[in-house]
Subunit: 264 residues, 4 copies
């Protein structure tokens, strides 16, 4: 439990009759018309404006997380909207609730693994990335654990997002030792396991988050904010071209067939 | 209830082993590095890329909705995170759940009112906006209803976001009859009520959404996606500088004092 | 917006080092071992202990709402649990989010309709229920509205829960003019429409809630508390015998087939 | 990830036009009027009807979890309801989202600890509970961990719920080695730490859940279903005697005072 405190404070921003400030910037004159939505997300998580290069890279990684097709989250948002069309916000909220360890775990896990294998203090000291990668791969193999951020059920032998994200990072000065270490991990893991293990989008994003210096615990937040945009898109499509009712009816009918009285 | 259907379909996007498409655009080559986060939100709601001018205006309106200080939503996200710090997504979801009629109603309401007063088919036909505004104001007064989008408890006599949003809209060719009608409504309402009734940010955004041609039912979705970014910011601050525990303790103590056994 | 107030108060209960009180009853000695879970729900909504007869009827109506098979809510809870198995509470919450107007509307609607047709002040004054029912049915027909609480897609010609709920209510002194009016409405509606329109479970529960005198706005709360129990049951089954992953995979595959590149 | 499967099945229940079955029982004739709400919760989690003795004990433990005053969950439900009064279900859902490791962890933890210290196979074999308790206490002390289920910030030196819950369990044949082990743990911990460490309600409930044989992973579900009832009670009070608006206004004003422009 946290401690009691005398004063409630917040450094996010404040409003007076004629001023609105967000993280020290005047909203009307310094943010509106000057920043894009991704830049504002950066401001609220990094507590400073991104440089133009950072803006490019950060927007790219958050955009990558927005829309992944008919995920369980999208199904949840659509099924919820069918029952409560007056509460669009509750349908998005329901969809977000499932973004737990199974779906965002690998992005968090990749960032965490990279920080543990190469703590920030060792950056720029000539760390032997190949050796580190060998050790990490061996260690995970010994414990029977898979490496987060590697492998994809569909995108083989290459996840098409990864080379593009790494290219954007490199073009904007954000491809350093963490990206290189992620690539070493891939090579070592593929050699050890004898099969293609592409760096997937969550592995690429985890590595780039380390280049930014974001704590690994924040990474899930990027997934959550991005996915809320994608879920609004799914709900809008559900309004005009619904699938939730059909999904429900099929499921109910099949379960009655398989588990109802005539199945005995 | 919707009808049954033979086929489940979705036009949002699809993935094959080497391709990922969102609303007809190739994610790696046409979106990543080419669009910002607000542009992608536009793509998913308008189903086409924004022009550079549209991008400027749309990013500004969504950004305006991101962060409004210690709102009930932000308090909810922080209190939820205190109990379930392992589930950041659930804290954001809880915060979104309260974005109902009270808080997003006026933005929806402003857009709806403008469309009803000036249906899209009448645009460009020389409609008499002053006359329309007079009628709307009189009609609301007769029914004892307030006009959505006008007035603000704190930002008086001007909501500092409104002139800036209207300026950005005008500079980018998105200030037409709906913005003008909103301004007529303000003048008529101020004259009728004899007090300052600034167009607040939700009124400005409602009017600009009409300039885009977004259906009023979608407008709540912009608030939801924007606020999810703001709530991540609050949760990150709650991690480093918590206020939820103090809020809880004070409330519990006061209620015990006021309603407990010694209050009888 | 509500008004400011000087003091925060709550009459639900309080705790001191050696006492815990809920709605004026001592939890350890007057509630634990003395009441069942339904009785406590009654205490928290009616603000008094139920009589033995009220306990029977109230437990029956809440129990009826607990479990309705593979509803959209149950699918949502299971799909959410698949992604965040560490957050059982978030899976239940997601499932509850869809209990909006579509699914609980008819129960609320039935109670509201009955109160509007027969205000509590008219009870015991010899109101002509047949005449009231005729008027309500004609009025709904004229406006093209269906009558809430009548008709069921599966349970025809009788919803098997309804006669049992009415029997329990009658045996316990809770079958009065509202139940009678609901039955009149059924007869009139069947005569007018020329087809079987069974009083469904939500109609029966709506009527019995009126016998209790519960405001119609509270009725949704009974559905929510009941369904949370049912959703825990679904999540436990999902743990041991999951269906969410299969549901997701089938949906994704079908949509790729119907809307992906090879569908063009 | 789970495996694909050919058939979707569920053993929870099924409906045909004239029958509704829950866990093998006919809802109208075997459940309605025959069971109380707690019994149904038992049926859905244990997959059998409780005996009268089990019914007494199970209802008591779930009831204990329903209402804990102005918890963060209750504050969340009330603040959410203020913004979306049309979505009572979303306010309950938001409140449930915070029932994570901090608040339900100790109940889960107590049950898990007891099962690990005394696996079910060792029941009835004359295990030396004092020796086990000594070891567990020493082990936790060595690792600097607190024992779940012991100690309470307010209820000292006795949590008034615990002796009553243990009494009800004993009167109904559900007080065996797990309850005894919990009591040994208390004695050992108090001796080792030199201060009062009452078995709190979550410790008592954890121990009784072990007597029932419930897996520790299910225990959180009891808290979730119980709390949803309590949250409905809070929302009803918020409707008639609101506190959320005042809580919000005070918080916003204090933060502006402490962190706004005049605080610099």
């Amino acid at each position: 439990m946290p401690k009691r405190k005398d004063k409630l404070t917040s450094d996010i921003g404040w409003s007076t009759p004629d001023q609105i400030t967000v993280r020290g910037l005047d909203l009307p004159s310094e943010i509106l018309g000057e920043m894009n939505l991704g830049d504002l997300a950066f401001l609220l998580t990094a507590h400073r404006k991104p440089s133009p290069e950072e803006s490019k890279v950060f927007n790219a990684i958050v955009i990558t997380l927005v829309e992944h097709g008919i995920t369980p989250s999208a199904m949840v948002a659509r099924l919820t909207y069918m029952g409560a069309p007056e509460s669009l916000q509750a349908a998005v909220a329901a969809g977000l609730n499932g973004l737990g360890t199974v779906f965002v775990g690998s992005m968090e896990g990749a960032a965490r693994l990279l920080y543990e294998a190469l703590p920030a203090e060792r950056l720029g000291t000539g760390a032997d990335l190949e050796a580190i990668a060998k050790e990490v791969v061996a260690d995970h193999a010994a414990r029977g654990q898979i490496l987060p951020g590697l492998g994809h059920p569909l995108h083989k032998p290459v996840d098409p997002r990864t080379p593009r994200l790494f290219e954007i990072a490199a073009q904007n000065g954000l491809s350093g030792e963490y990206v290189a270490l992620m690539q070493c991990l891939q090579r070592e893991a593929e050699a050890a396991r004898g099969k293609a293990l592409p760096i997937n989008a969550t592995g690429a994003i985890g590595a780039i988050c380390c280049e930014f210096g974001f704590p690994w615990q924040i990474v899930r937040g990027f997934g959550v904010m991005a996915r809320s945009i994608g879920l609004v898109g799914h709900i809008l499509e559900e309004r005009s071209d619904p699938i939730a009712f059909e999904l429900w009816q099929r499921t109910e009918e099949e379960i009655l067939r398989n588990s109802g009285p005539q199945s005995r």
